[in-house]
Symmetry: C2
Subunit: 177 residues, 2 copies
């Protein structure tokens, strides 16, 4: 698939996955795609932990509430360091978002499905911190997102999107010429 | 090129562009890629304005200081609405970052180069607001980034990146097994 095809085929998959182990080589390719994303002032604030150990996946699921991605054979946890890029400016959110988007596309290109789980684990119940503790992540890193990785065993569904003309214009706000 | 090749070939291009008009169809494909990115709770907080009118490009360059992307035959301006996704949570930064990353990849896939200019225009001198005024963008939208689009006429350069093992691990922080 071309980039444009992958971009359009990608969706947030919240269904069940096949019980098929993901080759390490594929997880590495997905993580390499994440790390290849740009970052503000090249601060490279994003780090990643792929989890494919059954026992660890079980422990992580034990703190994810409500449950999500219960059947995923692997997940990639996204860590950020809130580093200053210059003066008082930080771009760590942009950095990890770009890395996540690259990984979502890479996963689809390799035949997998995934979903961007962020609010789920960064709300006030701090599930991300519980996951970080299980993975021995120190306090100067924040676990902000996890991406399940697996082969979908249920149909994909696509979010309804506003039409192009409501969100994209030429040469001026809401201009189409 | 495959997605993984495009991801690795993409770089932040700050050199000069060829003086070649970008077909509208290509700008539309790039913007469609941006709008296909996921958004928190599907709020679709990101909007886009492609600028290919010579006079408008000239006006926009007049407020971009220090100068950047002076020779780009087109630019895509990224707008955001700071909408609540749920309770007090917003994801508009993640939303536009994912959209930008999709557009950077789409541009490379189509043979163009680009660069994520954000801090440049969202600093305290508020260049983004001056650009927004030129494009008649109302106050409830913020212009947070512009992406030049063009064919590079100078060599690409790649940022130095930390090795994989310093940023990506398996089954625990800094674990490699």
């Amino acid at each position: 698939m071309t980039v444009l095809e992958v971009v359009k085929n990608r969706t947030s998959f919240r269904g069940e996955f096949e019980d098929t182990k993901i080759p390490r080589g594929d997880l590495i390719k997905i993580m390499e795609a994440g790390l290849a994303a740009p970052s503000g002032c090249n601060k490279q604030t994003t780090s990643l932990i792929a989890v494919d150990d059954i026992g660890l996946l079980h422990k992580l699921r034990g703190v994810i509430n409500p449950q999500a991605a219960e059947t995923a054979p692997a997940m990639i946890c996204v860590l950020t360091q809130k580093l200053i890029a210059y003066r008082d400016r930080t771009f760590y959110i942009q950095d990890y978002a770009a890395a996540i988007q690259n990984m979502l596309l890479a996963a689809v290109a390799l035949g997998y499905q995934s979903c961007w789980y962020e609010g789920h684990i960064t709300d006030t119940d701090a599930i991300g911190r519980k996951m970080a503790d299980i993975l021995n992540v120190p306090d100067d890193y924040e676990l902000v997102c996890f991406l399940p990785v697996g082969i979908a065993s249920q149909p994909l569904r696509y979010a309804d999107k506003k039409p192009f003309a409501e969100r994209a214009w030429f040469n001026g706000f809401k201009r189409t010429d």
